[in-house]
């Protein structure tokens, strides 16, 4: 029967995920030999990891509130484009975001040149505040979207009632907005906290040193530079424990879904005039500037050298696209199998699809490194390992995108399909693929962009000749080849967004109502 085959396939996917996350963890635990002693530098890394994540999450969410409020209650030309732009940082390769921020806030960036011209002291973007700045750039837009959804959940009738009772902006805040924020903000803070816990690329480029090293960065250094496998394993265990605890804590909160539609509502909202109007305009202008300036800087810096990119860049781009396509296919196929089983009511698959959230690129990488190291050179399996890890890490996002539509499909058409004996490949072809075309396209796009921009496990495994494009950009930055780095990162952005757009467009095209 179709159900049994589907559930079996879902079981196989779940077992693979379990093996990948918990199996690598077991390898790591074996390597520590039971001695779980964190040295002073390790404790410092643990503290810094938590501290920067706390600061990043709070800063992202607090800064997002005025922006979300302004977007919720104002209508202006370009509002839709700005909201769409808010989705971009999630898909932006982190290394590119960092380069853009350096161009604006770095030592020779626009801001410091302005400060210099005014005779003021220049600011350094390295260390804790650089890490937090980058995390706010990457996650504040997500927070704005989450909070904006919160505003959209306040019924329009309630705003009408408030207007008819003569509420001022303060009353509206007290009776309508504050209760909503109290529900939405904790979830948003936790989501961003978890994302920032596993930050590697940002710490690699803007952190470092005894005062600004995250656990992930410490794992990388222990494996790549000190070749201290046991220390890497101990750090990986600490990182896993931290993430697992955070994900468990997050599961207790009602977590908002990251990328919802329905951000537009035509119903009237109370839009106070006067100085509040100016304040909203300022919040929107600052947020747009904060997002657009680094992106603009990347484009401006990268365009001139785009015609004369060295062959190494093109080769790395080819590897990146192949890795991204392979991991995308694996990830979305796995997510679809799990989502179909979960939609039929089979238990346990939602948990399996959440499992990779507790792992991180470097923890999985450490386990796989320890597993393959005795047998083959890690560099020789760099690309397959990257495909596997990227697929596992993007699967939870793909699953979240597909599951609601899969549930709706099951509820609306499951019985008819069963009554007609539609099963197996026929069911996939005539029911599942046409009905789920839109979320599948979106999930493929997200996975492709995430994998394209990933700079994690590849840094652990790759030698000179296996670098993907993000790793190559990072190496070019490390070698102070800023022009080549800028052009390569522009190519990287174009490829990431291009793949996303292509898949998403393919999903929308011909999708039925």
């Amino acid at each position: 029967m179709a159900e049994r085959a589907g559930t079996l396939a879902a079981g196989a996917v779940a077992a693979t995920l379990g093996l990948l996350t918990l199996g690598t963890l077991a390898v790591v635990a074996l390597q520590t030999g039971g001695g779980l002693r964190l040295g002073p530098a390790d404790w410092a890394a643990l503290r810094f990891t938590v501290w920067q994540a706390v600061l990043s999450a709070l800063a992202s969410v607090l800064l997002a509130v005025p922006v979300a409020r302004a977007l919720a209650r104002r209508r202006f030309a370009g509002r839709g484009a700005l909201i769409a732009l808010l989705g971009a940082p999630f898909l932006l390769p982190v290394i590119v975001a960092v380069l853009g921020l350096l161009a604006v806030f770095g030592r020779a960036g626009l801001l410091n040149r302005g400060l210099e011209a005014l005779g003021l002291p220049v600011l350094s973007v390295y260390g804790l505040h650089g890490v937090v700045l980058a995390h706010v750039f990457l996650n504040m837009p997500l927070a704005v979207r989450l909070i904006l959804q919160g505003w959209a959940t306040i019924p329009a009738e309630r705003f009408r009632l408030a207007a008819s009772l003569g509420f001022g902006p303060g009353d509206v805040f007290r009776h309508l907005e504050r209760p909503m924020l109290r529900e939405v903000l904790p979830g948003a803070v936790v989501v961003i906290f978890v994302i920032c816990l596993t930050s590697f690329a940002v710490a690699l480029t803007l952190g470092g040193g005894p005062r600004a090293t995250t656990l992930e960065l410490a794992i990388y250094q222990a494996l790549r530079f000190e070749f201290d496998l046991t220390r890497a394993a101990v750090l990986a265990l600490a990182q896993f424990a931290l993430c697992a605890a955070a994900v468990l804590a997050a599961a207790r909160l009602a977590l908002p879904a990251g990328f919802g539609a329905g951000l537009d509502r035509t119903a009237l909202t109370l839009a106070p005039g006067g100085w509040r109007r100016g304040l909203d305009a300022l919040a929107i202008a600052l947020a747009a500037g904060f997002l657009l300036a680094p992106l603009g800087a990347v484009v401006a810096a990268g365009l001139p050298g785009l015609g004369s990119l060295p062959d190494t860049v093109w080769a790395a781009a080819g590897r990146s696209v192949s890795v991204a396509l392979a991991s995308t296919l694996v990830s979305v196929a796995g997510a679809l199998v799990l989502a179909l089983a979960a939609a039929r009511g089979a238990r346990g698959f939602e948990l399996a699809a959440t499992l990779p959230l507790a792992a991180s690129s470097l923890v999985l990488g450490t386990g796989l490194f320890l597993a393959v190291y005795p047998f083959v050179s890690p560099a020789s399996v760099a690309l397959p390992v990257t495909v596997l890890v990227n697929a596992a890490l993007s699967l939870p996002f793909a699953f979240r995108v597909i599951l609601p539509e899969a549930r709706r499909m099951q509820a609306d058409h499951g019985r008819l399909a069963e009554a007609l004996g539609l099963r197996g490949m026929a069911r996939l072809r005539w029911l599942v693929l046409p009905r789920l075309r839109r979320p599948l396209g979106f999930a493929l796009g997200i996975c492709a962009a995430l994998s394209m921009g990933d700079l994690g496990v590849i840094a652990l495994f790759a030698g000179e000749r296996e670098a993907t494009l993000p790793l190559l950009v990072q190496r070019l930055v490390g070698a102070y080849q800023m022009q080549a780095a800028a052009s390569a990162s522009l190519l990287l952005v174009a490829l990431s967004f291009g793949l996303f757009w292509l898949f998403d467009w393919g999903g929308r095209r011909g999708a039925e109502a």
């Binding site: 008819l416 009554a419 004996g421 490949m425």
Partner: protein
Amino acid sequence: MLRLEKLRITQGDFTLRADWQVAEGSRVAVIGPSGGGKSTLLMAIAGFLAPSAGRVLWQGKDLAAVAPGDRPVSMLFQDQNLFPHLSLRENLGLGLSPRLRLDAAQEARIAGALERVGLAGLGAARPGRLSGGQQGRAALARALLRARPVLLLDEPFAALGPALKVEMLALVAEIAGETGAMVLMVTHDPQDARRLGGETVLVAGGEALPPRGTEALFADPPQALRDYLG
């Protein structure tokens, strides 16, 4: 012969019992208060609900292990009887071949069935372009093609206006007559039961009572039916 043998269906704290049989080609209306278990009864016969006790037998064979698509049954649900992303031709084709590999003879049968229900030439149309009545006709055309000996109707025409509903019931009667199929039709309207002719099963108080001749039943209604009719 469709036989419900000491059948018991349990859903949470709701239980429905039935112990009777219906001859091939019969027309049976299933009537009773909402929430009484009319749909539950059809779902059990179609194979969407497993009995907690007793058996559903067709020609003496227990259907417990038979998947819904393999039962001698076509069912029209209250809604979602057509896949909205497929054309009418494809929707009907799925009744002949779930893989939708259709040969010329099958294509001809599909065209014929569409013509039979008054939808000639609409094979390329998507269900969304059709009216509610036309969608019901298309679903009936598929049942005609599948030609299963039992046709289960779970109020598929409830959303149609009175005149259209009468028209659809007439079509059901014609098609059942052509294929010789037994009809079990859920309704809450005594008029529908009368129009269908044949027998009526009253579902009330956790039990589906054995079928009785519809006219006789309404002429001398038991207390449960009197309560329902008011």
